[in-house]
Every structure is written in structure tokens, then in C-alpha cells.
């Protein structure tokens, strides 16, 4: 399976410019979409069964159809705040093919009847934001943006908005607050952004890769698009593979490919002489899987059935030279730092999880602490405004469940070492 859609000719020189993109047939789908009615475009998107590529995997077309009809200010926001540890696909997509995203964004805005759009790009992606701004400028000059796009009734103003470094802004409602110039705190849902989003107006929020798929769906038609991938996970996916692999990077594959082919075939597997100990199939917030799960097809449903999730499609491989405790501590510390502090279970839960993991490391923990830690994870999940806390609780909970013996052995040896040190200090 080697069908490239989004990554087709990705390294062709000049692809990031308007001329380069047009040479590859770019902006030829936009007039086609504008000749269709808004509902026809929306229908194509629904029938393509395209699922959001940002993490939640919700049907993109359905989400767009939730926006109320009628004459009002509607917004489209592209979520380019890619910050999930292990994810770097949007960076490469925007850096090398910004016009593909812009074309998809214009078509999606047309379908949703949005007249103002923003690309919210994380502040750390300064180089990418520069490229996007140049591309938006080119698209404006060429008449793809602004009033009456290509002489249609579609108006669209697009700006690139830079964040300033906060993982939580990848959460859609926190992103809206950040875009409104506030601290990026998540909002209570409902109301969902489709009804009350940016500036209280109906807002469609889509990930970079999701929008980059849109021109291809309209060009080839939903009927052909659903032939890619597997049922309920249609299309291709740009998968970021990193960690202990020989060839880390972004690979575009059809959904449903065997995980082993992706990890060991394309990405080269772990370094020579090493075995895969566990892997995150969807960024650091997904429950971990082990080497036993390598033959699972890589798609939304198979990952969910295995107790994990596809998320943003970011695989992190951890080989057997690493201690599960060190990885757990990295994960927990990250979410502690990034918790916005609005909801107690997340703010306190991430903090106490770090403290308890550090107790294990120092040899001050007892096996009961593992049960307490597991119960802390359970009490975070589903009890906050957003899923940031869950994003720590799920992987940590899965690590405790799958590697309990290793945690206990670590506890034991660290306690012995601490005891010996205390005896030596006393003597």
C-alpha cells in the first residue's frame, strides 16, 4: 500500500510557492468546488467519511454540518498548534506544501459558509508561520482570498495567528480563548464551538492534515476517496514515527496498514540488537501497546479495540534499553507543566502523579502506592473540562497495568539502595 495524496511530490523544489503548487495542478479544485453548491461540497465531505486528523477522529463533514445555517458571522479556524509529543506531521505539511492547506481551507470555509478564517500556528513554528504568511499573501494576490473569490459569492479573509507556547492551546476551546487574546483555558462544553465558538459565533475548527485532505476529496470525489483505507478509517494518514527507530520521520500510508510494516518496514524498527518494549500509537497521550500488538492494522477502530487510540497518528517507539519508570516520569512531568490549572483533578492529579513516581525513583514508595497512583488516574478521566488530564492518566494507567512487575522491582531495588545509603551514612 503506497498511495501518496498529501505527500505527493512533497520534496519537489518550489512546491511551497504558488507557481510550484500550480505546476502540480494546485488550485484547480477550488473553481470546481465553487461551481458546486455549498451543500454539495458538504455532502462530498460527509460521504468521504474523512475523520479528523487532530486526535479526536470525529467526522469532518458532520462537524461542518453542525454549524447553523443563516446570515451571521461564521468562522473557520485551522488548528495548527501541533504540540502533542511525537507529532510532527503538520509541520512538514505546512512547511513544504502550505498552499494545499490554504486551498482546502478555502473550500471548507465555502462549505461551512464561513467568511473569516484563522490559522492558529504554535509560536515555536516560527519558520513555518513565515512560510504560511508568504503563501497567504500569494493566494490573496492571486484572488483566491478576499472578496468574491474567483468571482463567486464566497468571501474569505484569512490571517495566520501565532501562539506563544502552550500545549493546551491545541484543545479547541482553549485555542479559541488564546485567539481571543486571553489565557488559553478550555471552556465548558456544550455549547460546542459549532454553535458558540470564536467571538461567540459559529466556528468550525479543523486540523491541518484534515483540511489538506479536502482538495483531494473534492478532486477525486468521495466515491473514490472511500476506496482508500479501510471502512470507518478512510483515506491516507501521514504518520509521524519517532523514538527508538532507525528511520524516524513522516510516512504517508493508507489507513489499515499493518503496524509492523509501518514501524519495522518503513521506519526500520528499533536499533540493531534491540527489541520494541512498548509503543505509543497516537502520541504521548495514548495508552501504550506492546510488541504483541504489532500485527494490528493501523486504523482508528483497531487501535480503539486494542484499548488505545490512533489520536493524531504519532507513533513513539521505546526499546528494551529504557526503563518504563523514566518514560512514565517524562510523560507525567510534561502534563504537569502543561496543565492550565483550571480543573482540580487535572491540576492536582498530574502534580501528585509526578510526586509519586519520584517517590518510587527515590526508593520511598511501597507497592500500595501503585494502587493509589492507578486510582488517581481513574479519578482524573472524564472529570475535567478538557482531556489534558486524561491524556496523562491513560498512558500512565496503561503503563502501570502492563508493567506493574517492573515498577515493583524498581521500587524494591531503589528502597534497598536507599536503605544501604542510610546505613552507610549512619556508620
Amino acid at each position: 500500500m503506497s498511495s501518496d495524496l498529501l505527500f505527493e511530490g512533497i520534496d519537489e523544489p518550489g512546491l511551497a510557492t504558488l507557481d510550484g503548487y500550480r505546476r502540480r495542478g494546485g488550485y484547480e479544485t477550488l473553481p470546481k468546488a465553487l461551481r458546486m453548491s455549498r451543500d454539495e461540497v458538504l455532502n462530498e465531505l460527509i460521504e468521504s467519511e474523512l475523520r479528523g486528523r487532530g486526535g479526536a477522529g470525529f467526522s469532518m463533514g458532520k462537524k461542518a454540518s453542525f454549524l447553523p445555517k443563516g446570515d451571521m458571522d461564521k468562522y473557520l479556524v485551522c488548528n495548527a498548534d501541533e504540540s502533542e509529543p511525537g507529532a510532527f506531521k503538520d509541520r512538514e505539511l505546512m512547511q513544504k506544501n502550505p498552499h494545499q492547506l490554504i486551498e482546502g481551507l478555502i473550500i471548507a470555509a465555502y462549505a461551512a459558509a464561513a467568511t473569516r478564517a484563522f490559522i492558529f500556528v504554535r509560536g515555536e513554528y516560527a519558520e513555518v508561520a513565515d512560510i504560511l504568511e508568504r503563501a497567504v499573501e500569494e493566494a490573496k494576490e492571486a484572488g483566491y482570498l478576499g472578496e468574491r473569490v474567483l468571482n463567486s459569492d464566497h468571501n474569505l479573509i484569512l490571517w495566520v495567528h501565532r501562539g506563544a507556547g502552550a500545549y493546551i492551546c491545541g484543545e479547541e476551546t482553549a485555542l479559541l480563548d488564546a485567539l481571543e487574546g486571553k489565557r488559553g483555558n478550555p471552556r465548558l462544553k456544550p455549547p460546542f464551538p459549532a454553535n458558540q465558538g470564536l467571538y461567540q459565533g459559529p466556528t468550525l475548527i479543523n486540523n491541518v492534515e484534515t483540511l489538506s485532505n479536502v482538495p483531494h476529496i473534492i478532486a477525486m470525489g468521495a466515491a473514490d476517496y472511500v476506496k482508500l483505507g479501510v471502512p470507518n478509517s478512510t483515506g491516507t494518514k501521514v504518520v509521524s514515527v519517532s523514538g527508538n527507530v532507525q528511520r524516524p520521520g513522516n510516512y504517508e500510508v493508507e489507513l489499515g496498514i499493518s503496524s509492523r510494516e509501518l514501524i519495522c518496514g518503513l521506519a526500520g524498527g528499533p536499533p540493531a540488537g534491540r527489541e520494541i518494549k512498548f509503543w505509543f500509537p497516537g502520541g504521548s497521550s495514548s495508552p501504550v501497546l506492546t510488541a504483541d500488538d504489532l500485527d494490528l492494522p493501523y486504523d482508528f477502530d483497531s487501535m480503539a479495540k486494542a484499548g488505545s487510540m490512533l489520536g493524531s497518528g504519532s507513533i513513539i517507539i521505546v526499546d528494551d534499553s529504557n526503563d518504563v519508570l523514566d518514560v512514565a516520569l517524562k510523560v507525567a512531568k510534561f502534563y504537569r507543566h502543561e496543565s492550565c490549572g483550571k480543573c482540580t483533578p487535572c491540576r492536582e492529579g498530574t502534580n501528585w502523579t509526578v510526586k509519586m513516581l519520584e517517590r518510587i525513583q527515590r526508593g520511598e514508595a511501597t507497592p500500595m502506592d501503585l494502587d493509589i497512583m492507578a486510582s488517581v488516574q481513574e479519578r482524573i478521566i472524564g472529570h475535567c473540562l478538557c482531556v489534558l488530564g486524561d491524556s496523562m492518566a491513560m498512558p500512565i494507567g496503561s503503563m502501570i497495568a502492563k508493567f506493574r512487575e517492573e515498577f515493583e522491582a524498581h521500587m524494591e531495588s531503589a528502597r534497598d539502595a536507599a536503605d544501604r545509603a542510610a546505613i552507610e551514612a549512619a556508620a
Partner: protein, 211 residues
């Protein structure tokens, strides 16, 4: 038993040594007649404000612009931004303290921002040693803001760092002295190892016949 760390005021949680002065009037929106704002900064912020239906949306780009001039979000910088945006400095202080890239500790203008990614994929590839080496290379030079940063979205070049916004990797601890030197000389940082010049893994797989 472990010694419990305490702050100077005796508590285990951070706080303030001095109680807040409740007699003080709250800071108001700065008066344009008495607030000196550089023309180019004012123009830039007004440009941002014009992009959005609500002027508050300009907070992040405006603070970033002010930090660029002042080195950090100093009281003076906040005052200037607040004056142009017609908000209180307190509003902006609340925003600035939330975001990692906005500095709320003093730093001189022209400070180099070096973020070493120490998240999972980078740390599996030696990022912690890289961070130590980078700190050592920068020494006590206050024009370097070297920080261990959360995932920067470039795990394909792990371990990596962002040097004034330019992504470079994979890095070895030995590269740090060169990076700091290139920053001081105003040169481009490790051109051959910038992520922008790297082919996609997908392309390489195709060329190698793996796809």
C-alpha cells in the same frame, strides 16, 4: 527522611514575602499623553489589532512584538502594549504569564532563545545530556535564554533544539559550543542540519524502494 524544602517565608508553597498593598489603586489603562510608545511598535500593534473583529485578539502578537524590542515582557513593555491596545497592564500580565515563549523574567534585548527539546522522543535519543551541554556552552552569558522545552514537534531530528526559531538536529553535545558561537557571530546556525533542508522520510523510503 527527606528534608522538606521551604521558601523564605516558611511555607512549602511559593508565594510572596510581602502582603499585597490593598490601599493601592488598580492600574488603569495607560494614558496615551504620558505613555511613551515607540512609533514602529505602535504601528505594528495597530496592524495586528486591525486583523481581528475584537482588538483583544492582538494580545499575543503584540506582546511578542514588545518582547522583541525589550527582551522580555517588562513593566515598561506591558505599559506600552496596554496603552496601544487600550487594556490594563494587569490584563496583559495575566496573558504573558500563561505562555512559555513570553518572558516574565528580565532579559536584555536581542536575547537568543535556545529551546532544547527534552520530551520523550528526544530524551530517548540523549536530549538530557544535550541540554546540560547547551547550558554549559552558554555559561553565564545573560543574552542566552537556554531552556529545556516541551515537545517542539520535530521528533524526526531528535535530539533537537530551536535556536531563535530555527530547528536544528540531530544534535550531539559537542555541537553546542558551535551553536552558541554562531549565535554570537550572527551567523546562520548549522545550515546543514536545519529541518527545513531535510527530505521527508516518506521521500527517502520511496527512493530506497521501500514504498
Amino acid at each position: 527522611m527527606t528534608e522538606i524544602a521551604r521558601f523564605s517565608h516558611g511555607s512549602r508553597v511559593p508565594g510572596w514575602d510581602e502582603p499585597v498593598d490593598l490601599e493601592l489603586d488598580p492600574a488603569e489603562v495607560p494614558d496615551p499623553a504620558t505613555t511613551d510608545v515607540p512609533d514602529d511598535l505602535r504601528e505594528e500593534i495597530e496592524g495586528y489589532m486591525a486583523r481581528y473583529p475584537d482588538r483583544h485578539s492582538a494580545a499575543l502578537p503584540a506582546l511578542t512584538a514588545a518582547q522583541h524590542r525589550h527582551g522580555w515582557c517588562s513593566p515598561e513593555a506591558l505599559e506600552q502594549v496596554a496603552c496601544v491596545m487600550r487594556v490594563t497592564p494587569g490584563y496583559l500580565a495575566a496573558v504573558a504569564t500563561f505562555y512559555d515563549m513570553l518572558r516574565v523574567e528580565p532579559a536584555p534585548p536581542g536575547t537568543h532563545a535556545i529551546y532544547v527539546c527534552t520530551n520523550i522522543s528526544c530524551s530517548l535519543n540523549g536530549a538530557d545530556a544535550l541540554y546540560d551541554a547547551m547550558r554549559e556552552a552558554a555559561g553565564d552569558d545573560e543574552t542566552f535564554d537556554v531552556r529545556a522545552f516541551e515537545c517542539l514537534g520535530a521528533c524526526d531530528i531528535a535530539p533537537m533544539a530551536s535556536v531563535d526559531g530555527t530547528y536544528v538536529g540531530p544534535l550531539a553535545p559537542a555541537d553546542c559550543v558551535r551553536i552558541v558561537g554562531q549565535c554570537r557571530a550572527g551567523e546562520e546556525v548549522l545550515p546543514e542540519r536545519q529541518v527545513a533542508r531535510r527530505k521527508a522520510a516518506d521521500t527517502l523510503a520511496r527512493e530506497a524502494g521501500l514504498k
